[in-house]
Assembly symmetry: C2
Homo-oligomer: 160 residues x 2
């Protein structure tokens, strides 16, 4: 029977060539680690690249059946070309969420830091350390982008 | 029999709530007007909005079977939040192009002006006037966003 207090959350750290993802099970405000990884693709055109990301994420959603998506909000970036490209990838993620009727929680970078470390200006090291502590994944070898995605999933659980 | 000198081009002026589109038939460098319009949607969430645009464009592609997509490149915009939202919509258009195996020609705003008026700093009025002249649509009542989309389609024909 479905436990309505429990929810599977997919956190996504959007990127064009590397997209980190992390899946947690949220029970009230307790997060349990399920899986994580990075979708990495190098296609010739931007359109093919977005299609590859779309397919990779579709497969993930089909496999893990998340009930919510957490995604990082995009803020002012020094490199506008990169920012636009990441926003295009975000568009594909949001489209997939709507296609699968999944609610989306958008979290700002400072909110992610605040949620997992209690301090909005925390550095990357502190975020990594706290994600490991919260999820008990200190023995797992987790890539940076996937750690960020797990942090985003935890933040979505807290902020939803 | 398919005429390989002739090609149907769909031009898109990307936007989040209004997306202009224009379809031309390109024969060598001669453009003929086929159709144009604006997809206008107001959904509650950004994800649902992108899905509505996706569905609208899918229907257009199915109906008109374009062989190429022209889309405006995004440049520095004063309002970064708007720029990000337009980039997300662009991501959905590029995804659709890849799903339908359609080559994409991205054109900068100055290129569009250059292509249809011969002058990269031309104003909106000159662009509208020249699109009407090139396509012979002076008797058609065409919305602004659709005129831009037709100008983008003409530019894609020239720059491809």
């Amino acid at each position: 029977m479905k436990d309505f207090n429990s929810q599977i959350i997919l956190g996504i750290d959007p990127g064009t060539h590397r997209m980190g993802w992390g899946i947690i099970q949220a029970e009230k405000r307790k997060a349990t680690y399920l899986d994580c990884g990075v979708i990495e693709e190098r296609k010739e055109t931007k359109a093919e690249q977005l299609l590859a990301l779309y397919k990779g994420l579709s497969a993930l959603i089909e496999k893990h059946r998340p009930e919510m998506i957490g995604i990082e909000k995009l803020f002012f970036m020094k490199n506008q070309t990169t920012a636009m490209a990441v926003a295009e990838a975000r568009g594909v993620v949001l489209l997939l969420a709507a296609e699968n009727n999944l609610p989306v929680v958008e979290v700002a970078p400072t909110e992610v830091k605040q949620c997992v470390t209690g301090y909005g200006q925390a550095d990357k090291k502190a975020v990594t350390k706290m994600v490991k502590l919260i999820l008990g994944t200190d023995k797992l070898k987790v890539l940076d982008d996937a750690t960020d995605a797990l942090a985003i999933a935890i933040s979505a659980m807290i902020l939803k």
